[in-house]
Symmetry: C2
Subunit: 223 residues, 2 copies
Amino acid sequence: MAAVIGSKRIRRTSEEARRQILDAAEARLTNLGPEGLRLQDIGRDVGLSHSAILHHFESRDGLVKALSIRATEQLRADVLAALATPAGKTPDATQVMQKVFEVLSERGYARLAAWLTLEHDGGNQGFSQQMIAELIRVIHSIRMEHHATAGVAPPSEEDTSNIVLLVATVAYGDGIMGHALRGAARRPDDPVARKDFRLWFGHLIQAHMDSYFPPKDAARPKA
Amino acid sequence: MAAVIGSKRIRRTSEEARRQILDAAEARLTNLGPEGLRLQDIGRDVGLSHSAILHHFESRDGLVKALSIRATEQLRADVLAALATPAGKTPDATQVMQKVFEVLSERGYARLAAWLTLEHDGGNQGFSQQMIAELIRVIHSIRMEHHATAGVAPPSEEDTSNIVLLVATVAYGDGIMGHALRGAARRPDDPVARKDFRLWFGHLIQAHMDSYFPPKDAARPKA
DNA sequence: TAGTCGGTTGACATAATTGTCAATTCGCGG
DNA sequence: CCGCGAATTGACAATTATGTCAACCGACTA
C-alpha cells in the first residue's frame, strides 16, 4: 500500500521491478482475494503503470503463473528449512509438523495456494506435488527410527500419510477459514490464540504417534 | 448445464425462477469458482436472460447474498438433522462429528462457504455464527454426560471448542484443498478413500476424547 | 373476452479491465 | 558527450460485465 508520489520516473532493473510487482500482487491476493488482483492497482502500489506490468510479465496470466511459481519455491524452501536437522540430530516429527503448519497457515501461503489452484482451474498441478510426498517420506523415516529406539510399534505408511495429509488440510483450512471459524466460535483470533490452537493440535498428533500400539489399547498420553 | 433451445418463453412462478437461478448459481460457484458466476452464464443454464436474474435479485450482489443465505440455511438444517437423536438416546459425539464433517466437506458446502466468505470480504458474518457455538454446546453436554456415566474426566470447554473447531477446519480444508492434496500425496481421491480418511480422523478424535484424563495432564499435556 | 399483473426480453448505457503501440526518458558504455 | 537499449508511460482499442428501461406476452380473473 505504499505509493510514491512526488518523484519523477523511477527506473528499476528488470529483476527489481519483477520482485516489487510480485510482492504487491501477493499482498493483494492474500488480503483481498483474486478480485484484488488488478493490474492498475498493483501498479499503483509499486508506482508503475499497468503497462509496465504487462511489459514484465507478458500478460496477466503470466503474472499469475510467475506468482504461483515463486510462492511454490518459497514454500518449498521454508518447508525444507523446517526439515533441516538442527545438528545431525534426528528432528522431532511433531516439531516438524508444527513448523510446516506454521509456515503454511500463518504467512498467507494457504490462501495464496487456494486462490491460485482454484483460479487456475481445479485441475491444478505444481504447487507442492512432490513436496507432500517428500514430507511423508521424511516423517515416516523419523517414525520408523523412533520405533526402533523407543518402544513404539512400527507405523504403517498409510498412517503417516494420513497424518501429513491431516496437518496440511488443517493448515489450509485454518489459513483460509480460520478467521471466520474462530469468529463463529466466539473465540479470539489473535496470534496467541492461533498458536494455542496449533499447539493443542500438535499435542493431538503427538499423542497419536506416541500411542501407536497396535496390540494393546491405543490411548494413553503418558509423557 | 441444461439449456432449452427450441421452445418459446417459459413462464415460471417467482419462486420457481429464484430456485432455478440459485441452483444454477450454486453449481457454477462450486464447480468453477467465483469467476464462473456471471449473470449471462447462469441465465443460459436455466434458459433466462441476464435481465431476468436482475429482476429477481435486484443485483448481482443480491444474488450472492441470497445464495449465501440459502446455503447457510441448508447447511444448518443438515447439521441439525445430524444432531437429532435417533430415539431419545444420547448420540455419540464422534458420530455427530463424522456427520458434520461429511455434510460440510462432501457436498460442496465447504467450497461454497469459502467463496462466499472470501468474495464478500473477510469481514464476513452470517454463514454459521451461532451454528458453531451451538455445536460446541451440544457436543460438550454429550461429553459431560459421558463423563458422568463412564469414567472419563470432565473435559474443559476449551477442549471441546478446539475439537469442534478442528473438525470444521478439517472439513473446510478437505472440501477446498482435499482433491489437490490427495493428488500431491499420490493417493486416490475416490469417495471410498475420502471416507477412509474421514474414519481415520474420526478415530483420532475419538481417541482424544476417550483418553481425556485431567488429573495428570488435562487440557495441556505439557509442553 | 378484455384487462391487468408481473415475469421476460432485447437494445442500450456505463464502467472497468486487459492488452497494444508508439513515443518518452533514464542510465550506462563507448 | 552521444547514442543506444530498455524500462516506462499515456492514449487508444477491444472485450466483457453489470445495470437500466421500455416494451412484450403469458396466465389468471372479472
